[in-house]
Symmetry: C2
Subunit: 236 residues, 2 copies
DNA sequence: ATTGTTCGTTGACCGCAGGTCAAGAACACG
DNA sequence: CGTGTTCTTGACCTGCGGTCAACGAACAAT
């Protein structure tokens, strides 16, 4: 907490413009990679900096030289993980042609695969969102607002451009609703500890998941979709 | 799913001793009260058990006797705080008569006052939801699912009974959407650190807040409201 | 009152993990 | 090779969660 906030508040008097020495830059990268694994596997507080260092065969102090604090290291790991996520607008062209809500459906359907392929990144995303201190959480939120790593702004513009979204809502409102519900729905889709009861009781039945996704997309369409195009796919 | 979280997340040791000591019960209560303040003011990790004990004029070890761990103490504090929140169905009768969505609007309009009157409880709710370890978060979630402290089940039943909610959605789906969006909307209404950008840029302009609430309720009505009663108040 | 039992309280103590730092190693460059 | 700069190290410090053996206050039985 102290590390994060102070490092951002203070310009940290340094010579030049934080010149990225090539050698240490590579090391930073390696440290972050290992850190991602550790934070993902054990959570924030249970992950030990010394373990990370040990696994790299370096001294603990070295880690603290590159990242001022455990917070700082985690934040870096979080950023790297989140930036590796696909953006909405990276859906296949064929899907995009079918419209805004089809893109949503596409990504929801793919969540499980994406998580399987990139487990630790999703896990660290979870840890960052629900399992760290509030001071860090604030930094994280700033990052998410500034970077828009999922590219929902572009995505909403896309939807507005196609006339699929309500013109009487401003972009922030639509984006917020989208973020809020998509995040939680994905959480519910794939985590146990954050599952508020939507999927647990009936176990992992694939077709129920399908139905849920269908319901959810339809629900979002009602909420933020323009009225003329209320029904799609079924074409009626 | 299942793969995400099962393998990790140390099984935090915190179980109820289930031993109702008669006269130490009062002391437990006092400890929890002070703990609420400390956790609320400093966050989970920055709060010190020793400070809490010192403020009560007792020894640190005594706290650990009553609550096996810091986790356990926090959890108790969290529960007490959350249980002090009002339930949806505790809205005034006059409001309830006007229907499901009017009750929503009522509570949204009152959030600011509620927080002012009960600052530390709301704050600790935030800390529990976003600022603790994942293992604790899991415990918290279990609690929220089991206790339904806001009484959304009753509330949704109420809405269904009045025919104001879509009959083609099951209760869990409606409840989840409600929980997700209400939580985040309230966060956005009154916290800085979790504000995803909805309210910040224009500062604290009251009428904008009003307009946001209006928009939001309307949006929820579209999403989960039955179609016959799409427009209310305006009566057309 | 006296003794015995139980339970709460205490504060010294431990271990552990984040964080620091001075000294040295490795490197860059003239 | 010399000199200045950067990186690395590991011993060391600190602070905090958690433990524990001993102490003492309440109560029960005699």
């Amino acid at each position: 907490m102290e590390g994060i906030t102070s490092s951002l508040a203070k310009p940290t008097q340094m010579r030049r413009d934080a010149k990225p020495r090539p050698r240490s830059e590579a090391k930073r990268g390696r440290i972050v990679e290992v850190a991602i694994r550790h934070f993902a596997e054990r959570g924030y507080s249970a992950a030990r900096v010394e373990d990370i260092a040990a696994q790299l065969g370096i001294a603990k102090g070295s880690v603290f030289q590159h990242f001022k604090s455990k917070d700082g290291l985690f934040f870096e790991a979080y950023k790297k993980a989140v930036l590796s996520f696909p953006k909405y607008m990276q859906a296949p062209a064929a899907v995009q042609e079918r419209g805004f809500f089809e893109v949503l459906r596409y990504w929801l359907g793919r969540t499980e695969n994406m998580v399987r392929d990139n487990w630790s990144s999703y896990r660290i995303y979870l840890v960052g969102n629900y399992g760290t201190d509030l001071a860090l959480r604030r930094e994280i939120n700033r990052f998410l607002v500034a970077e828009d790593p999922y590219g929902w702004r572009d995505f909403v513009s896309f939807g507005v451009g196609r006339g699929e979204l309500r013109p009487d809502l401003d972009v922030d409102m639509i984006g917020s609703i989208l973020e809020w519900t998509m995040d939680r729905f994905q959480d519910a889709l794939l985590t146990e500890e954050l599952d508020p009861g939507l999927f647990r009781k009936s176990g992992p039945v694939p077709e129920e998941k399908e139905a849920r996704i269908e319901q959810f997309v339809e629900l979002l369409r009602r909420a933020i979709g323009s009225e003329k195009v209320q029904v799609t796919g079924k074409k009626a």
